[in-house]
């Protein structure tokens, strides 16, 4: 595969337009949510105090002026300071990126570890009674909200069995339940995709040819059908990254995991605009980066895409 400079420039251009759209939309949407000065001052504040805060943070300026100033500062990666504690918003957000990426990465590994073998097993002989039952169980699991799955796991493994901690992120033991919870958001869906793809692959001509050449059931499944079935699964994992980030918000709140999602929830309830803007900006960049990475991975995995120049 050769380096395609035009494709890179095109990607960067798309990223710039994407980020400008996100920050612009966010800026104006946040204006509809409320006045941060009022939240800061509270219900016992005086009109004078309210005016002073509005002046201090520039909320008294015309909206267009606030927007231009916001874009100019953004170009310098200056998101301002948090309204809650005067700490730089971008640093607060960057401090939380690591834990969220760790949780997301672990959950993707857990999702693959559960979904690929289970999906392959279910899809290889979809008419077998035990696999029909397994498929129904996966279908039901897909309907269980991740929030509920997390609380049930805490109840079982932390409260009753006392095997695992349910709070914090200090050490491997504290990673297990949040990882499994976040994995529960995507694993059932991925299992069903892998199963469907394997079933379809097993009907293909090349499988028949392999069988005629003497390949056993195990070889047919793992060496021939599954690699083809995983193409769709890879696309799903890449496309669902943003979904996993939203799942991370819920998971982080339940498990007191100090990540980006939890910070975003807190900032939203207090109308901490600089932190919300910095967090959404970083999430947008992450989603874009993962989508790009998925595209690149696809070109490695599927030689047909390289020859088509996609």
């Amino acid at each position: 595969m050769s380096f395609d400079a035009r494709a890179v420039v095109r990607r960067i251009g798309v990223l710039a337009v994407f980020l400008l759209s996100v920050v612009t939309l966010l800026f104006f949407l946040l204006q509809l949510t409320g006045d941060p000065a009022e939240v800061m001052v509270g219900d016992s504040g005086t009109p004078e105090q309210l005016e002073q805060v509005r002046k201090q943070y520039g909320f008294d300026r015309p909206l267009a002026e606030q927007y231009v100033r916001y874009l100019v500062n953004l170009a310098q990666f200056d998101f301002g300071v948090s309204f809650a504690n005067d700490q730089p918003a971008f640093s607060l957000v960057m401090d939380r990126v690591g834990p969220t990426l760790l949780l997301t990465f672990l959950s993707i590994i857990a999702t693959l570890a559960i979904a690929v073998p289970l999906g392959a097993w279910l899809g290889a002989r979809p008419d077998a009674p035990e696999r029909i039952a397994g498929g129904i169980a996966v279908y039901i699991a897909q309907g269980v909200p991740g929030f509920v799955a997390g609380l049930l796991m805490i109840q079982l493994f932390a409260v009753h069995l006392r095997w695992l901690p349910s709070i914090g992120h200090e050490g491997v033991a504290t990673w297990i339940l949040p990882t499994l919870t976040l994995a529960s958001f995507l694993a059932p869906k991925l299992t069903r995709v892998v199963a469907a793809n394997v079933t379809e692959a097993m009907r293909e001509d090349y499988i028949r040819t392999a069988r005629a050449s003497g390949a056993g059931p195990s070889g047919l499944l793992w060496r021939h059908a599954l690699p083809n079935a995983l193409l769709g699964a890879t696309a799903l994992v890449g496309a669902q990254f943003a979904f996993l980030i939203s799942g991370a918000v819920i998971t982080e709140v339940i498990f007191a995991w100090p990540g980006l999602g939890w910070l975003l929830v807190k900032a939203t309830t207090t109308l901490d605009f600089p932190v919300i803007q910095a967090a959404v900006f970083v999430i947008a960049v992450l989603v874009f980066a993962v989508n790009t990475l998925t595209d690149v991975l696809f070109r490695f995995i599927d030689p047909r895409l390289r020859t088509k120049g996609i």
Partner: protein, 519 residues
């Protein structure tokens, strides 16, 4: 002039305060470093260790381990000595506080008047614009150090409850404050409290015993862990990962008690109500009367008769709360024990409505915020259901707290004709606070009763506690006769405790960490 500390509550309260002092100051034995208390709170202080950035919960759960004020208000609404041991008003506009001897901050600085002045000057500097302490201290015009251990406050008008009000001003180590500023202090807080900071992480504050504190603890370490989800807090308690949890609901009581743990239930300083707006601020910033059915006092009374508050207290709050008939809880100074809640009487409600010309009933929309109090969503729904039985159709509209604030503070218009409102006596646990907030004196008020206005003026100038209490009680009586709101229930605070925790005490959410020990 008699020091207010001694004159206000008579011999019993004076003696209680002395024991309180001795109890606190006597806690000087070295902490057991092998023990740790873990507390699961719904939120860590958003402003971290800047003690001027917030008031009340959730910050108070963490700050009560680190910081102290000159006074602290007890569960009877009476100011008790903390870093000030006595106080007196030398003239109606001057209060003089004498500081406790031998107190040190955790960085070694000695407590002197400079600590009080440093905090006060910051609050008045214009740099603390968003601090809620600014609003609480707006009546105080000056502070000066009379000596190293005596500080004097001047108020713009006579302020009989400054010793209560001053509890909002937590003291900072003046040199450290000057060096670090508010931003630096937020990450490296220093106080005179039982514990000193070890680390402040995103989800956990780790503290260790400050053995040199005037209220040194018996337990060596304290971890305060943010657990925003209530069910996660309960599960963390039941799984032994934390020893104390805050912000529970009545639904959690059987779960926690069923597991053999304890629930500490105390009245909160808040009364939940549905405000019935009668006035609003116009474009010229003047209060004008609203054209609403609520302007007829019989309609407001009818609404109060229509709701089964006892049923709410017993059914939704499991009998741990009380029905409310006034805008104060029994702990608040000025609460009137003779003012009873409106009885549940739908027939009388209908009759009053008919008398007022609404024989076919009335309908209105109420904008409410839920998730602030235990069971509040169910309480509003029960209220609407009860009112419907009396011919009053209420459509509940849930709004966010920021939206509620925008409407309350007049930037946005209310879309409904009534709204949820809490009568909050905290932080100084005196019923004058909500009364003034919801009176002609506040430009954001929803009600302005000339009779109440006159009594507020009298109360604000009255230094004799007994006479002041009588005036406040009369205001509650007047508000019962012509209710500006549907008073629902006195709210409660619930804390969950593991079996290991001994001597847990909290007053108005201020946790006495120095008393806590672990089995």
């Amino acid at each position: 002039m008699i020091p207010a500390f001694f004159s206000r509550g008579g011999l019993f309260r004076g003696a209680a305060a002395v024991f309180f002092c001795i109890g606190l100051a006597g806690a000087t034995s070295a902490a057991d470093m092998s023990q740790t208390v873990r507390v699961g709170v719904n939120d860590l202080p958003p402003g971290k260790g800047n003690p001027f950035s917030a008031l009340g919960s959730p910050s108070i759960y963490t700050w009560s381990a680190i910081f102290d004020s000159l006074t602290r208000v007890d569960d009877q609404g009476i100011a008790q000595p903390m870093l000030a041991v006595k106080w007196e008003n030398t003239d109606p506009k001057t209060w003089r506080f004498t500081l406790r001897d031998g107190v040190k901050f955790s960085n070694g600085e000695a407590l002197t008047s400079a600590a009080v002045i440093a905090g006060f000057e910051y609050i008045k500097s214009g740099k603390a614009g968003r601090s809620p302490v600014v609003g609480e201290m707006r009546g105080v015009t000056a502070a000066k150090a009379v000596s190293d251990n005596v500080v004097e406050f001047t108020t713009g008008r006579p302020d009989p409850i400054l010793p209560n009000r001053i509890a909002a001003l937590k003291l900072v180590a003046p040199k450290h404050w000057a060096e670090k500023g508010p931003e630096g202090y937020a990450t490296e807080p220093v106080g005179t409290g039982s514990y000193k900071l070890v680390s402040w992480d995103a989800n956990k504050v780790t503290l260790e015993a400050f053995d040199g504190s005037w209220r040194a603890p018996g337990v060596g370490k304290l971890e305060i862990i943010e657990l925003p989800e209530r069910s996660a807090r309960v599960q963390a308690l039941l799984s032994g990962q934390v020893d104390i949890v805050t912000g529970l609901s009545t639904d959690d009581i059987p779960v926690i008690e069923g597991a053999g743990y304890k629930v500490d239930i105390k009245p909160a300083a808040q009364v939940m109500s549905l405000a019935l707006p009668l006035v609003k601020k116009n474009a010229d910033k003047k209060l004008v009367d609203l054209d609403t059915p609520f302007k007829d006092v019989r309609v407001r009374q009818a609404l109060n008769y229509a709701v089964d508050k006892e049923g709410i207290a017993k059914g939704i709050l499991a009998g741990h709360a009380k029905a409310a008939g006034q805008g104060a809880t029994p702990a608040a100074f000025g609460y009137n024990p003779d003012v009873s809640p409106f009885p549940y009487d739908p027939a009388k409600a209908k009759a009053l409505l008919a008398e007022a010309g609404y024989a076919d009933g009335i309908s209105f929309e109420a904008e409410v915020v839920t998730g602030s109090f235990p069971g509040d969503s169910e309480i509003y729904q029960k209220m609407a259901q009860d009112m419907a039985a009396a011919g009053i159709k209420v459509t509940l509209r849930r709004i966010t707290f920021p939206d509620w604030l925008s409407k309350y503070l007049g930037r946005k218009s209310w879309e409904g004709q009534a709204f949820g409102m809490s009568w909050n006596s905290a932080p100084y646990i005196d019923s004058i606070r909500p009364i003034v907030l919801f009176s002609c004196f506040n430009p954001f008020t929803f009600t302005c009763d000339a009779n109440v206005r006159g009594m507020v003026i009298k109360a604000n100038g009255e230094f004799d506690p007994a006479k002041r209490k009588a005036i406040l009680r009369n205001i509650h009586k007047a508000n019962r006769a012509a209710p500006p709101a549907v008073f629902l229930v006195e709210q409660i605070d619930l804390f969950g405790l593991s079996g290991k925790v001994k001597d847990f005490k909290q007053t108005n959410r201020w946790i006495a960490y120095h008393d806590i020990s672990i089995n």
